[in-house]
Symmetry: C2
Subunit: 207 residues, 2 copies
């Protein structure tokens, strides 16, 4: 069996969205499935004293422009469509990420992740407004009312906290973060390193 890479994601991160868009082709290419792990990016930032690039790049000449170039290169390399900037950024994703855990518990994780990313970065909405979020999820064929209610239950909240704490303990400080075994990779640019490391491990097993 191939090692299964983990993708720690928060739907509030545009770079996590681009990674999500690039992952299916990688999965097909190397014959593995990524294990999606919902985390709260705000919680990771708080635990590590880190901040979002939107904050850390503010006021630094050239650096934000270079990140835009990196995004263009990523889009070209992985042949994905660019995101549509969410005018409500930063969107508080606490309830959305709790609902991601709820969706895991309810057996609708994959369509939920697809829908949540879609309504954040394809047809962006103010997804921290419960009414907007419910309507958007319903439009994507999900039981938005049920998922957002389930999101408020203790087991769901506890799982998101555990996922987030576990991420920090293993070395995470931002988004997107990937693991291949205990090896961590950070940033959408390192998706190619993730792919290479999996291929390397597959090669080792065959030898």
């Amino acid at each position: 069996m191939s090692p299964r890479p983990r993708f720690l994601f928060d739907v509030g991160s545009p770079n996590a969205f681009l990674a999500h868009e690039a992952i299916p082709a990688i999965e097909k290419r190397i014959g593995v499935r990524f294990d999606y792990v919902p985390v709260l990016l705000g919680g990771i930032f708080k635990a590590t004293n880190n901040k979002s690039p939107a904050e850390t790049l503010a006021g630094i000449k050239n650096k934000r422009e270079f990140q835009a170039i990196e995004t263009e290169r990523f889009i070209k390399r992985f042949q994905v469509a660019p995101y549509v900037w969410n005018p409500f950024f930063p969107v508080n994703t606490l309830n959305l990420m709790r609902a991601a855990v709820a969706a895991q518990f309810e057996g609708v994780f994959e369509p939920y992740v697809e829908a949540a990313f879609h309504h954040m970065w394809r047809e962006p909405k103010k997804m921290d407004d419960p009414g907007v979020a419910t309507e958007a999820l319903v439009a994507s064929g999900l039981d938005g009312v049920r998922l957002l209610a389930r999101a408020q239950e203790g087991d769901v909240k506890a799982t998101l906290i555990t996922n987030t704490q576990d991420a920090v303990e293993r070395g995470a400080f931002g988004s997107p973060t990937f693991f291949v075994g205990s090896e961590m990779f950070f940033g959408k640019e390192q998706l190619r390193d993730v792919e290479e490391m999996i291929l390397g491990k597959q090669q080792q097993r065959r030898e």
Copy 2:
């Protein structure tokens, strides 16, 4: 003729040193020579309102540790020896980088760059002490007295300023920075992208 990549460097940057160590094998592999451009990293930081990783990573959990992992991966990928941490970091490199320009004017640029990096990151010394710097350069077979005197002349100072301003105008904000034509790459991790872009351009010319 192959496009000639540019490597903007300041000998005070350990990541520039590692890039410098990796470059000869790349040059051999793809048949190009890198054009080394002396810049003052402190000047780039000042002009862009950026800071060194040593400052920006301080107090952020996991991020510095991850940079150490990235450095280990770089060392493994490019088969170079790790640097020896300079106990006098940050070393003020104003005179060393002026002397790099002086060495260009005097026709001893390559041995100077080799020596300056060596005394910063192989056998690290307090290279912003003029006596220490002179002695170190002499030990490496250079006319340290002459180069450090030449470093104080107007044409040398002006060239370093021009190189640094030009770097900022083209998009630089840190070290190491590379250019292939007008395409910029930042960080030692992107040396592989530099190599790929050159190979792509070589391929285009052949087609």
